[in-house]
Symmetry: C2
C-alpha cells in the first residue's frame, strides 16, 4: 500500500470538482476544446491588473541583492506593514505589521490557523454550502468539522449554529462572499454572530475563534462595501489571498490577519509564524511578497464579473431556473431542476456543459456554475442549459 | 489560550536556531552589525546564477496569458517533464513527468510525502545529527520520529537502524549531503541500506519507504559525483528544492521524485498530488515553475563554497578543533571543546560569534557552523574561535 488508509479513502472518494475536471478532459478530447463549456473551476481567465505586471517587470529589471533569500517566517516586515496599512484604511482598526502573517495563499493560511489553534478532537463549524476543502483542512490538524445549515438566501442559520456549539467548539469558519453561493454576510448577521460566539464562549468557559475566509472580498457587486468581521468580534482572524482580486491563483500569495482587539494577538501570531514554518510553507514566496507590496489597492475589473453575473442570472431566470443573485465572488448556485443535483449535472454534461453538483459543497439539490470564464464559454453553455431545463420540465 | 497545547509547548521549547537568531539580533543591536559574526543560518548570501535572472526577465518582459493561473496540483506538465529529463540524465533511470510532483520547496515536499504515507503511530527513522524540523514534520501527520545514531564520519549506523526497525516502521529519512555534518553517503552505504530495508520489509510484511532529502545534492566538493538512491532501492522518494543550488530559498520551489522502479509509483503520485492540494500548498508557485524549467542544470558557484570550506577547516584545525571535513553542503560540525556544546556556544557568543549547538540537531557535544556567508564574516569570526579555543584549553 503506497498510501495511508485515510488518504487512500479520500483519493477513492475523489471530489466532485476533480471528477468534473476529469470528465471535462474526456469530453474535450471527444468533442474538441471549443465544443465543451467548462463552468466547473474557480480558475479566473482574467489576467492580473497592469500594476502587477509593472511591479514584476521592475523587480526583474532591477534585482536587489538578497531578494530571493529567506526572510522571517511571517514575511517581510515591509510587506506585512503594507497589508496592515491597507487593513487600517479599510477597517479603521489599528492594524500593525505584527498582526499580519504572509502565507502561501488562503489555503495555506487556513491550514496554518487550524494547526495553530486545534487540540485533538476540537470542533470547527462550517456553514453549508461550503468550500469542500474545509473538511480536509480541519481533519489535517486533528479537528472535527461540524456542518451547520444556512437559512434563506444562503445566510448562516445562527439558531442552528447555537445548537451545534458545545465545550469542544474551537472555531467557526465563514466565507463571504461565499463560494459557491455568492452570498455576502451583512453587518447585522456579523453582529449577531459575534454576540452569539461571545455568549457561548462565556457559557462554556472556552474561546471560540471566528475565522473569516475572504479571498473574494474585493469582488463585490452593486456598490456593496465589504462588511468586516473585525469590529464585530475580538477573537477574529481573516485569511485571504490574491488568487482572485489580482488573478494570481497559481502564485500562492496571501495572508492571515489577527484582530488587534484580540487580547492574545501576539501569542497567536507567534504560533501562526511557527506553524507556517513547521507545516513546510516556511514563508510566502519572496518575489510575490515584493510584487504585491505597492499595489495593495489594485484589483481585476469587477464590473466585468458583474456583467457576466447579470447575463447569467438573466438568461437562467428566463429559462425558469430558480436562482439566488450573487452579491459577490464569481459563482452562481441555482436549484437543480428535479431536485437531484447529480442527475441534473449528468444531463448538462450530455450537452457538453460542466458544472459541479451541490453535494460537492454539502448542499444536495443545487449546482454550482463558475462564471470566471470567457464570454464565449458562458454564451456557448446557454443552449445546453435551455435543453436541460426543458428536459427537466421547466 | 490562543494556541493548541502542543503548539504552545513547541513554541515554548523554541528551537536552537531560533534562539541563536534572537541572540544575534540582540548582539547586533548592542555591538553593531559589523562586529557580530553570524554563522547560525543556512541562508546563502550568494545570488542566484545569471541564467535565473535572464529567465525571470524574459517572463516579466513577455507575459504569457494564463501564466499566473492555477495549473494541475502536481505542476505544469512541461516543468515536470524538464525535471524528469534532468533526472534521466543524472540517473539513467526512465523518469517521466508522471514521477514528479512540483512543490513549495523541500519542506513542503517532505510534509506532502509524510501526509501521504503515514498511518497514525507509524514510525519514521532519522539519523542523528539531523535537520531538527524532521521531528515536527513527522509529528504533523501523526507519525513518530525514531532517532538512530550515526557512526564514524557521520555515516548512518545501519546496525542501529536494523535494531530500530519494527512492524510500525514506515519510512527512513536520509539527508546527503548532510545538514549539519556535510557528510555525503556513498554508493556502498546506499546499497547496504537498500538491502537492509528490503530484508526488513519482507520480514515484517511491510513496505518501508526511503525518503532522500537532497536540497544540497549539487553542492559537492572535490569532484564527487552524487550517489543516487534510486538504483539502490525501489521504494525510494527524493525530495529537493532550488533553495541552495539556485540560491532561491525564499521562493519555495522544489519537487518530489518517485522512483519509476517502485511498483506503486502511480498510486503514490496520485496521493502526493492530492495531499499537495489538501495540505494547502495547492501547487508550487507558478512563476517559479516557469523560471526553472529551462535552467535545470544551472547552479551557484560551488568552487566558492569549497574555498570557504577549505579556509574554515584549515584555520579551525590549526587552532586545535576536531573537525570532519565536509564533502558537500555548506556546514561544518566540529566537536565542542570541553564537550558541552551549549557552554561552548555561549562562550563563542561572548566573542560575538553565533553558531548552533549540536543538541539542536540531536547531537550534543558538537556545534554547527554555517559558512554560506561573506568572506569578511568568516574571517571576522576567526579571532573569536581562537579565543574560545584557548579558553577551553585547546
Amino acid at each position: 500500500m503506497a498510501l495511508s488508509q485515510k488518504v487512500r479513502r479520500f483519493v477513492d472518494e475523489g471530489g466532485w470538482i476533480r471528477r468534473m475536471f476529469e470528465a471535462g478532459i474526456a469530453l474535450k478530447r471527444q468533442h474538441g476544446e471549443d465544443r465543451v463549456f467548462d463552468l466547473s473551476l474557480g480558475n479566473p481567465v482574467v489576467e492580473p491588473p497592469s500594476q502587477f505586471h509593472r511591479e514584476l517587470l521592475r523587480l526583474a529589471e532591477h534585482p536587489v541583492k538578497g531578494m530571493h533569500r529567506y526572510m522571517p517566517n511571517a514575511g517581510y516586515p515591509e510587506t506585512r506593514e503594507a497589508v496592515a496599512a491597507s487593513l487600517r484604511d479599510e477597517t479603521g482598526i489599528p492594524f500593525a505589521a505584527g498582526h499580519v502573517v504572509m502565507t502561501c495563499g488562503a489555503a495555506a493560511a487556513l491550514n496554518v490557523v487550524l494547526k495553530t489553534i486545534l487540540d485533538p478532537g476540537a470542533e470547527v463549524a462550517v456553514f453549508a454550502p461550503y468550500f469542500v476543502e474545509y473538511g480536509y483542512y480541519v481533519d489535517n490538524h486533528g479537528g472535527v468539522p461540524v456542518v451547520v445549515p444556512c437559512g434563506r438566501d444562503f445566510q448562516p442559520d445562527l439558531e442552528a449554529l447555537e445548537r451545534s456549539i458545545n465545550g469542544r467548539t474551537r472555531a467557526v469558519i465563514i466565507n463571504s462572499p461565499n463560494n459557491p453561493s455568492g452570498a455576502v454576510y451583512g453587518e447585522p448577521l456579523l453582529k449577531d454572530l459575534g454576540e452569539l460566539l461571545t455568549t457561548k464562549g462565556r457559557q462554556h468557559g472556552t474561546e471560540i475563534f471566528l475565522i473569516s475566509d475572504e479571498p473574494y472580498r474585493r469582488i463585490l457587486y452593486d456598490g456593496l462595501v465589504y462588511p468586516q468581521v473585525f469590529p464585530r468580534y475580538d477573537a477574529s482572524i481573516a485569511v485571504t489571498s490574491h488568487a482572485k482580486d489580482l488573478a494570481l491563483p497559481g502564485e500562492r500569495i496571501g495572508h492571515v490577519a489577527v484582530n488587534p482587539g484580540y487580547p492574545g494577538a501576539e501569542e497567536l501570531v507567534d504560533g501562526l509564524t511557527f506553524c507556517n514554518r513547521i507545516l513546510g510553507f516556511v514563508n510566502a514566496p519572496a518575489l510575490m511578497q515584493h510584487a504585491i507590496r505597492r499595489i495593495q489597492g489594485a484589483s481585476v475589473d469587477v464590473a466585468d464579473y458583474q456583467r457576466k453575473r447579470d447575463y447569467l442570472c438573466g438568461r437562467l431566470t428566463a429559462m425558469g431556473y430558480s436562482v439566488f443573485k450573487p452579491q459577490g465572488a464569481f459563482y452562481l448556485f441555482p436549484q437543480a431542476p428535479g431536485g437531484d443535483d447529480v442527475a441534473f449535472v449528468d444531463e448538462l454534461q450530455d450537452h457538453n456543459v460542466l458544472v459541479v453538483p451541490g453535494r460537492g459543497f454539502g448542499a444536495p439539490g443545487y449546482f454550482r456554475i463558475s462564471y470566471c470564464v470567457e464570454d464565449r464559454v458562458l454564451e456557448g453553455a446557454m443552449d445546453g442549459f435551455a435543453r436541460a431545463a426543458r428536459r427537466f420540465g421547466l
